[in-house]
């Protein structure tokens, strides 16, 4: 076992870990040694090919096929330098004020999160896409919403030099998406933060991490690890866990922290989603242009959000319900397909949680509440109205049986789309907004939370959490700017306590 000593070790390099790394980087010039450990690889720009399975294998945990314990839902999350910021679409929204108020975390207020979010939005070049770059898939959503009486909003996006490849979810092939691998991690590295990829943290002990560095397999994308493959004993004065809403609670659970923290792993939410498609009479631009330019936020009133989207052939095929000739006919209509992603704003409930199996691997237990299913159904009905108002001939709704609804039946959508057709294991459900598991709460309240409002783990002053696992409940909107804002607070807490945490040499 090779021993390495650092002052701060950050586990994970996504929206949380990448932000903490950047915000602690100024400490390096005072002699503070900061290390980022990332389980996934570091890809070179020319390795982002946009090919579906090849990129999914390279960038996602389990190739994007991580399933909940009962196999009923697919959870998509990144496993590469930059974490999920490599594979999202760059949507950058500030947390809703009503949600943060409802979280009721003492010491956390919306104005503070909004101020921090604005700073990262500016750093990431967040802006609205100019109208000339919008594709038909997005324009039809906007027009359909207007005609159906809904107020769609445009997504602010963190792009620089977007060419409209439409391949965001496979890692931008043009280096145009400003994820942490493009912005915060290079800043951190330029100031002396060390980054080690292909480094899996197996467990955390007292100021110590057991780390396995993997060799690059033949044919695998990405550079070899910065360290020689092998087992490492990494010592740290401070550890920041930022492995995401599945990785962070799983790591802390297999390290034994669950004994003193019964809330560890609890409160998992994920905005369960369906992909809906509708066929138009003529080809539309859908697989060119940014895929996710508009959304319709009905979270407060009805518990759902709609987003434009565009997926790839296999992903689309998998997410349609059914098989055989009707399925094939829809796939052959690909150039005429409009797509909408419907997301339910699920709530933290006791039975939805992250656990670990006997080998320490994460297991996500998730059951759909009646409220979540109803939200998906209502969102699907609204989508049907939008599709048909935009001129679609027919649509595919997983919560209808049969799932194809013809234009002539548009008036019967409320009757055809119904919760009784929601059968787990039959309908495809996926989620990419993974939240909770190390919930923030009142300082010292280890019965109901894992950390305080600054990510300090209750009873373990040297251990911090800095990612989406901090969310005590669903955010009800795309989470990445809020993750960055919370991670910024975690870094600020460490800087403020640097003398106590890091010893005499650290700056005040």
């Amino acid at each position: 076992m090779i021993r390495r000593d650092y002052d701060v070790v950050i586990v994970g390099s996504g929206a949380g870990g990448g932000t903490v790394a950047q915000e602690l980087a100024p400490l390096v010039k005072s002699g503070v040694r900061v290390l980022v450990l990332e389980q996934g690889p570091r890809l070179a720009d020319d390795e982002f090919t946009g090919r579906e399975l090849e990129m999914a294998d390279a960038l996602y945990e389990d190739g994007g096929a991580f399933l909940t314990a009962d196999g009923a839902m697919t959870l998509a999350f990144g496993r590469a330098l930059g974490g999920s910021t490599v594979v999202y679409t760059g949507t950058s929204l500030v947390a809703p004020e009503r949600v943060i108020r409802a979280w009721a975390v003492p010491g956390l207020d919306h104005a503070d999160l909004a101020r921090r979010s604005a700073r990262f939005a500016a750093q990431n070049n967040v802006h609205l896409l100019e109208p000339a770059l919008l594709n038909d898939n997005n324009r039809l959503f906007l027009e359909g919403c207007r005609a159906a009486g809904y107020a769609a909003e445009q997504f602010p996006l963190n792009l620089k030099g977007c060419r409209g490849s439409s391949l965001c979810n496979l890692g931008c092939p043009n280096a145009a998406k400003m994820g942490t691998h493009r912005v915060q991690l290079p800043v951190a590295q330029s100031q002396g933060v060390q980054i080690v990829t292909r480094a899996e943290v197996l467990s955390i002990g007292d100021h110590a991490l057991s780390v396995a560095v993997r060799a690059r397999k033949q044919g695998e994308k990405g550079a070899a690890s910065e360290w020689e493959p092998g087992a490492y004993d990494v010592r740290a004065r401070v550890v920041v866990v930022a492995g995401g809403a599945i990785g962070s609670p799983a790591l802390l659970l297999r390290s034994g922290f669950g004994r003193a923290l019964p809330a560890l792993g609890a409160g998992f939410t994920c905005h369960p989603a369906h992909i809906l498609v509708a066929e138009h009479p003529r080809p539309i631009t859908n697989d060119v242009g940014h895929p996710k330019s508009y959304f319709l936020d009905r979270a407060a009133a009805e518990g759902w959000v709609l987003e434009t989207c565009m997926y790839f052939p296999f992903t689309t095929a998998k997410n349609l319900t059914g098989f055989g000739p009707p399925h094939s006919a829809l796939m052959r209509a690909f150039p005429r397909l409009q797509m909408i992603l419907v997301l339910a704003c699920d709530k933290a409930v006791p039975h939805n949680r992250v656990a670990v199996d006997r080998s320490g691997k994460p297991v996500v237990h998730y059951r759909f509440t009646a409220r979540t299913v109803e939200a998906l159904v209502r969102a699907t009905r609204a989508s049907a109205k939008i599709f048909f108002a935009a001129g679609a001939l027919r649509m595919h709704a997983p919560t209808a049986d049969p799932p194809l609804i013809e234009r002539g039946d548009a008036g019967r959508v409320d009757e055809l789309v119904d919760a009784r057709h929601f059968r787990t294991g039959k309908v495809s459900i996926s989620a990419a907004h993974l939240m909770g598991g190390c919930a923030m709460g009142a300082a010292g309240d280890s019965a109901r939370s894992v950390t305080d409002a600054w990510g300090r783990v209750h009873g373990v002053p040297w251990l911090r959490v800095g990612d989406a696992s901090l969310f005590p409940d669903s955010l009800e909107i795309n989470p990445y700017l809020t993750i960055m804002a919370l991670a910024d607070r975690v870094a600020e807490g460490i800087r403020t306590e640097a003398r106590d945490l890091l010893g005499g040499g650290a700056p005040a």
Partner: protein, 134 residues
């Protein structure tokens, strides 16, 4: 290096894949091999237990129609295959529904993850984005 999962179950897998994607019936041998190699790569990255479960599931799906139709799945005509799979995907047991969903996913992977299939359905995404469109 794990042993290939599909060879022992290839006839059943192809019969199921053809029911899920009727166009697969017209695939030539190199195209089948290409699709199955994609699935094989996917399975090789999964635990050995997943490959064992797949073999068991395919055996189950092949033999279950004996109870109702007196023939194995592979020996059923196209219409009966569809009816059987529809019944399975609506089965009261989640295990069965999710099993069919999983095999269906692998069939779609074998068919639609091939560049030729993506091109055949008109998928044209290109890293050059707007520049690649006339």
């Amino acid at each position: 290096m794990s042993a290939a999962a599909l060879p022992p179950i290839r006839p059943t897998f192809r019969a199921l894949a053809t029911a899920f994607v009727p166009e697969a019936a017209s695939l030539d041998e190199p195209s089948w091999a290409e699709g199955e190699a994609i699935v094989e790569r996917f399975l090789a990255a999964r635990p050995a237990a997943v490959r064992r479960q797949l073999r068991l599931l395919l055996a189950l799906l092949d033999f279950l129609p004996l109870l109702r139709h007196g023939r194995r799945f592979r020996a059923l005509d196209a219409a009966r295959r569809v009816r059987f799979l529809e019944a399975m995907q609506n089965a009261p047991l989640l295990l069965l529904r999710r099993g069919v969903w999983g095999v269906r996913t692998l069939a779609f992977m074998a068919y639609y993850a091939r560049p030729a299939a993506a091109s055949a359905i008109g998928y044209r995404a290109d890293a050059r984005g707007w520049q690649a469109r006339p």
